[in-house]
């Protein structure tokens, strides 16, 4: 491998650089992650099944994945809208708003958590207007979804935005010349082009929401069976010294996030092919 490279590449340092990369990757990421699978392997199949299909655990999957899916759909819609407005329209404060979209990446999750909880609490800035209409956000599954929308928003905007920027407006002009109205152009020309990016952003937002912990626990209320998310259940099991149970649930989550990562990579390959 090395010698093949050196024939067409005079740059030094390939072997030590790749060696160090693989070494560091192994000790920081791969070996620790494998610990999870080795620990799970000490359980029998029955023990594993019982641990990951207990009613409280299944309820937590339903809450986590249901809310993540809803949040990703909301982010998909509003994320595309925000990206569209940022790329196509002019308005005062646009640069500022553009920079602010990344706030959920930069704001620590615990801060987001306590803030959202206080804003949506019954006496909070928004909660006090929602409560009289019978809409309870804080301490319900709806609150979990709100937190997930917050942390997932930049993913959709930041994957769709560059694709929209690259989009050649001449194609739209051509569509118009050929007799398409604006909606047909958007539906037939623009939407199919940005669809892979939308799906990638959707999947990224979904994956992030499924694993999220810090911003959710403060607003969720954390009632078993109702508003308890899976990551919290892992912590609860750890605190009860139920290492086997915690590990089994963590394995399920890890395998699911691998599958999501795989589909995101496929989507990105697809969109790259689309761009070419």
């Amino acid at each position: 491998m090395g010698s093949q490279n050196q024939k067409n590449n005079v740059l030094p340092g390939f072997t030590p650089a790749l060696g160090y990369t693989i070494f560091y990757l192994s000790i920081v990421v791969l070996i620790p992650l494998s610990a999870l699978f080795f620990k799970t392997a000490t359980l029998t199949w029955d023990q594993f099944l019982v641990a990951v299909t207990a009613p409280r655990v299944v309820a937590s999957y339903r809450v986590t994945f249901g809310a993540s899916l809803m949040a990703a759909v909301i982010n998909g819609i509003f994320g595309v809208l925000v990206a569209w407005v940022l790329v196509r329209y002019r308005f005062p404060g646009k640069k500022l708003i553009d920079a602010l979209v990344d706030l959920p990446f930069a704001l620590p999750t615990a801060v987001a958590g306590i803030t959202l909880a206080s804003v949506y609490a019954p006496n909070g800035w928004l909660g006090r207007y929602l409560e009289p209409h019978g809409i309870k956000v804080a301490f319900t599954p709806l609150g979990i979804m709100v937190a997930m929308v917050f942390i997932g928003l930049p993913f959709v905007v930041r994957t769709v935005q560059p694709v929209l920027e690259e989009l050649d407006q001449e194609i739209e002009e051509a569509a118009c010349c050929l007799g398409a109205n604006r909606w047909q152009t958007i539906y037939r020309i623009i939407f199919p082009t940005i669809l892979p990016a939308i799906l990638t952003g959707f999947a990224l937002a979904f994956a992030r929401a499924v694993g999220e912990y810090g911003s959710i626990i403060f607003i969720a209320g954390n009632m078993p069976m109702v508003s308890e998310i899976t990551p919290l259940l892992i912590i609860t099991k750890l605190e009860q010294y139920d290492y086997a149970g915690a590990t089994a649930i963590a394995t399920v989550m890890l395998v699911l996030s691998f599958l999501l990562l795989l589909s995101i990579n496929l989507l990105q390959k697809l969109s790259r092919r689309f761009a070419e």
Partner: protein, 292 residues
């Protein structure tokens, strides 16, 4: 920059590539309304609630010994994590962006892995290795070394969650820059290190800043992973986010938000530096393109 201008002209000139005015205003209002509701309002709420009981209470909350030790621990954690991940990021980007080898895309996927692992799981794996019931637990206890529920555990878990930041920023940047300049320097007799510091580094310095600032923000703000390995010992294994949690759960809301406002300020500073770095990266890239 030029792209934006092109769009602006395009929008003005051609009716065929834009929507009727009322649609534009409607979309703008909905998008900005959504962003204000979900981003601006919570951001404002942090500072308003932090100053709820006045400046004196705010400063007093920050001067609490437990808070000060949390700040100190957070700074130490970031100071350990950022350099090691920075070094890794540069080395990995050199290997991946400047050379071609089989299995490259798999390697990139593996480097991104910590981003798709739940923070709680990231903490759990370190408990499984270094905890009392873990692989190394008995050995560590024999030698009286504490990792879990102590500072080393916090540092390790934070290294894990901040692992990809620098590498994932530098890989695409260095790939887009190619290796012509480095090859020229080497042909002219520069050594490998000279080539890196005199040729490669000036091209990637803003990318490095970008990666470092995001890595630092995550290192200082990480909650889930740190929460699992810290043990929440006040004044010794609490980072700022954990201190926020404790104060909040004790119903000292003003104090919790005062401490949280430090992290919110960090987030704002991060966004500013990130925006500047991004702008500089674009500039470097377009200058390089013009020269070609």
């Amino acid at each position: 920059m030029q792209v934006a201008k092109h769009h602006e002209n395009g929008v003005k000139v051609s009716q065929s590539t834009t929507e009727p005015a009322w649609v534009r205003y409607l979309l703008l209002v909905v998008a900005l309304g959504f962003l204000s509701l979900f981003l601006l309002l919570p951001l404002a709420a942090v500072f308003v609630q932090a100053l709820d009981k006045g400046w004196e209470a705010y400063l007093a909350a920050l001067k609490e010994p437990d808070t000060l030790s949390a700040i100190w621990l957070t700074v130490i954690t970031a100071a350990c994590c950022v350099p090691v991940n920075l070094f890794f990021g540069i080395v990995a980007a050199w290997a991946i962006a400047k050379f071609s080898f089989p299995g490259k895309s798999l390697l990139i996927t593996l480097i991104d892995l910590p981003f798709s692992v739940s923070p709680v799981v990231s903490g759990l794996i370190y408990v499984l290795i270094f905890g009392l019931q873990g692989w190394l637990g008995p050995w560590l206890q024999e030698h009286d070394i504490k990792i879990i529920f102590a500072v080393p555990g916090i540092v390790l878990a934070t290294i894990f969650v901040t692992f990809p930041f620098v590498a994932r920023e530098l890989i695409p940047l260095m790939e887009s820059q190619g290796r012509d300049e480095e090859e020229a320097a080497l042909t002219l007799g520069a050594s490998g290190l000279q080539t890196f510091f005199r040729v490669t580094f000036p091209n990637i310095k803003w990318g490095i800043l970008y990666g470092v600032i995001l890595c630092n923000a995550r290192a200082m703000g990480e909650f889930g992973a740190v929460s699992v390995v810290s043990g929440h010992v006040r004044g010794s294994t609490n980072t700022i986010p954990l201190q926020v949690e404790i104060l909040y759960n004790e119903y000292s809301y003003a104090a919790a938000f005062a401490v949280a406002s430090l992290l919110a300020l960090l987030a704002l500073v991060t966004l500013v530096i990130k925006t500047v770095a991004q702008w500089k990266i674009q500039q470097t890239l377009s200058v390089a393109e013009n020269e070609r």
